[in-house]
């Protein structure tokens, strides 16, 4: 082992390890953050490719290209790849890069576990995606894995279950690392209520992850034993109940959707003040609102299942508690708006994405309120309206916030400024096409088009064609994102330490660009 000699001579400074070992054996938070982000981008493109195949099939009524089984596999893996491979690793990558920089630490608290939690992911997705090549094809029961349908799959069944176990283990380790880093590695003077909001939202997200990923592990373990070992958790003949799976799953699933959005709130809360040249309005309220959302996320889960035949009192409770979430979320939206009020605004790419986030995420929030009304939900349940709703909060919500974060911090990471023109083209094409893609799906859903079908009645054709055209345009626009990053990393002009001339606030901007290999070797003074 090499540790003996590295302990012996106390080599103090930055020398980066070379070659492939730098990545395989990495303990540096920046290297691991980069791997997370590159992996997330690859999964985003793969999941996006699957989505474009879905839109291709839905361009016209009738079966065009795929048989229904393969179509269902595409829908299921698109969701799993985007959630567990795209958005979550992207947030962990951003946390890896930014949390130590923002709190004045040299690295994450548990660097080897950090590496472990990353490297599990490519193997987990190999396991998941390899099922496409087994008998029976890929997982086709939907990402929610409801029994009895999910139990009827072929070899994809155990592969999906075990892949989810691995993804869960990775998430739990990543979350423990973020919490411990924030609680234990802050520079002297960085009190909790001075913590940048990105760190705050991630701290709460990490808590949610540790609380609910094990519940998902338990739920899929019960599926596994029901399938192979004769248990009857979800089998009424033995006294179980398939609806019980939905309860356990959504006890995980609802906090999970906040896991996918809270770090996005954090990113937006960093960007809007910078480009408004004003401090964030109502910092404390933002922290408390985030914590309230996290608390509420544990008591709203059954709004995903209003139509399963719950007792009336249950439906009332889950309807009311769900609507309560609008209060802290409203606090956030108003605080972002008020931050911009009479600010000296400028519209660089991070700000553009943050603004699009503000408007389009709100649309997704409002359609969420519509879905929260139990009697109305009887009509909306499992229609394209639901698809439109969660894509509005996830794509121009979570994904746009990730892109905003990348455009905001990329110069800090690489020391180079990307092409503004390219980034703005990416922004406008994405923002227009994402609305062409998802807005018509509201109409389709209200008119009664069900989700998760490869074929539909002819009266839905027009809006499906519009939606598909938007989908192809959105997919192709993302190549500009890749181009902007690659061009920026290799050919960009040198960036200054502050990057954005005015308004930047936070420790990360006190370091040179690119940030040194070990962020803060000396703990900075916070005033």
């Amino acid at each position: 082992m090499a540790h003996a000699d590295s302990l012996a001579h106390d080599d103090h400074h930055d020398h980066k390890p070379h070659g492939i070992g730098r990545w395989l054996f990495a303990t540096n938070h920046k290297d691991i953050g980069t791997m997370y982000l590159v992996f997330a981008l690859a999964m985003f493109l793969l999941g996006g490719f699957m989505a474009m195949l879905i839109r291709l099939e839905l361009f016209k009524p009738g079966l065009q290209f795929f048989d229904p089984g393969f179509y269902n596999s595409l829908v299921t893996s698109h969701a799993l790849v985007m959630i567990f491979g795209g958005v979550m690793p992207a947030f962990v990558g951003l946390a890896n890069w930014m949390v130590p920089l923002q709190i004045g630490a040299p690295d994450m608290a548990l660097p080897r576990m950090n590496n472990y939690s990353f490297w599990i992911l490519p193997f987990a997705f190999t396991l998941l995606l390899s099922s496409f090549f087994t008998a029976g094809g890929g997982p086709a029961g939907g990402w929610t894995l409801y029994p009895p349908l999910s139990l009827q799959a072929g070899t994809s069944f155990p592969l999906t279950i075990f892949a989810i176990h691995l993804m869960g283990a990775s998430s739990i380790m990543g979350a423990i690392n973020v919490i411990v880093t924030i609680l234990n590695m802050r520079a002297p003077g960085m009190t909790l209520l001075r913590l940048p909001l990105f760190c705050w939202t991630w701290l709460i997200t990490a808590y949610l992850l540790i609380a609910v990923m094990p519940v998902l592990a338990g739920a899929v373990t019960m599926l596994l034993t029901d399938h192979y070992f004769g248990t009857s958790f979800f089998n009424p003949a033995g006294g179980g109940d398939p609806v019980m799976f939905q309860h356990i799953f959504w006890f995980f699933g609802h906090p999970e959707v906040y896991i996918l959005i809270l770090p996005a709130f954090g990113i937006v809360s960093e960007i809007i003040p910078t480009f408004s040249r004003k401090p964030l309005f109502g910092y404390d309220a933002m922290v408390y609102a985030t914590a309230s959302i996290a608390f509420l996320s544990f008591i709203v889960w059954a709004h995903h299942m209003f139509t399963v035949g719950m007792p009336l009192a249950g439906q009332m409770f889950f309807m009311m508690s769900t609507m309560l979430i609008a209060v802290p979320t409203g606090v956030k939206v108003f605080n972002w708006t008020t931050t911009m009020w009479r600010g000296s605004l400028s519209f660089e790419p991070p700000m553009l994405f943050a603004l699009a986030f503000l408007f389009l995420f709100s649309i997704g929030g409002f359609s969420g309120l519509m879905l929260a009304i139990a009697p109305a939900d009887y009509q909306y349940q499992d229609t394209y309206f639901v698809v439109a709703h969660f894509h509005y909060v996830l794509v121009p919500g979570a994904v746009f916030a990730i892109m905003a974060g990348v455009y905001y911090w990329l110069p800090k990471w690489t020391g180079r400024m990307y092409s503004m023109a390219l980034a703005k083209w990416h922004f406008w094409l994405s923002t227009i096409s994402v609305n062409v893609l998802f807005f018509p799906q509201h109409f389709l859903g209200l008119a009664g088009m069900p989700r998760r079908i490869p074929d539909y009645s002819v009266q839905f054709t027009d809006w499906n064609m519009v939606s598909s055209i938007g989908g192809f345009a959105f997919g192709v626009s993302q190549l500009l994102f890749v181009a902007a990053i690659i061009h920026g990393v290799w050919y960009g002009k040198p960036a200054t330490a502050k990057v954005w001339d005015a308004g930047v606030h936070g420790l990360e901007w006190t370091l040179p660009s690119p940030a040194p290999y070990h962020s803060f070797e000396e703990a900075p003074e916070i005033h």
Binding site: M1, Y116, P158, N184, M185, I210, T225, G238, D241, F251
Partner: protein
Amino acid sequence: MAQAETTTSEGKYYVPHASPWPIFGSVSLFVLMAGAALTLEDSGAGPSLLTLGLVLVFALFFGWFRTVINESEAGAYNLNVDRSFRMGMSWFIFSEVMFFAAFFGSLFYARQLALPWLSGAGSKHLTSELLWNHFEAHWPSNGPGLLGPRADGSFKTIPAMGVPALNTLLLLSSGVTVTIAHHALRANNRRVLKVFLALTFLLGFLFVFLQAREYHEAYTELGLQLGTGIYGSTFFLLTGFHGLHVTIGAIMLLVIWLRVMKGHFTPDRHFAFEGVAWYWHFVDVVWLGLYIFVYWL
């Protein structure tokens, strides 16, 4: 290898050097999971892959912990690292609590909601009428289909006052012995530490042994198996995962006992000991929940 140690007003930051174990661990988990999936699907390569995966995971634990123990004994870890380890362990135990919560949740749901609904409680009259007419909810239950190994669908449960009560006593005593060992470690009384730590893991292994005998009896004589409806499902998954955790905890206790025998740990620096003790108390508390809700009520 890159290793940065920097001085701050609080002491030193420590960044460990690069390590091959995480990537080794990822490969091991991949082999293990692929092997398990193929075994379940009766594929030829499954069992050998599964065995290889188990060997690799064992090597992973051995190798990674060896590295960390050596570094710890060489004095590489400062108080800041110690605090990170403590926090990490606490949050890990919280995640384990939530894992058990899923199974306790399914026990309560099935017993309090699913079974009564199957027999027509609340607004579910028609469900009962059309699907499982004449079914009366009761606990323990193997459901309206009377699932299980016996043709008449009968089965017996393990009485709470027999071996489970003894097992409760064993685990609670082991909680006391590990605390005595901890106090002895802090007082630098190594002789008492060795004896009571050994007593703790022996009690743990004895618990697992008695549990295994109970399982044998349940399978061969009581008609209580994994397939015995919802009672068998919740009983075996709850007690089974608990038993697995006791086994892991006892092995962890054995490892730190071996470290004590080699002279590791000082009265004020012994994170590994405390981490294992916390874990042991955690399996203790889970058992109390099991004893009350699975065996007793």
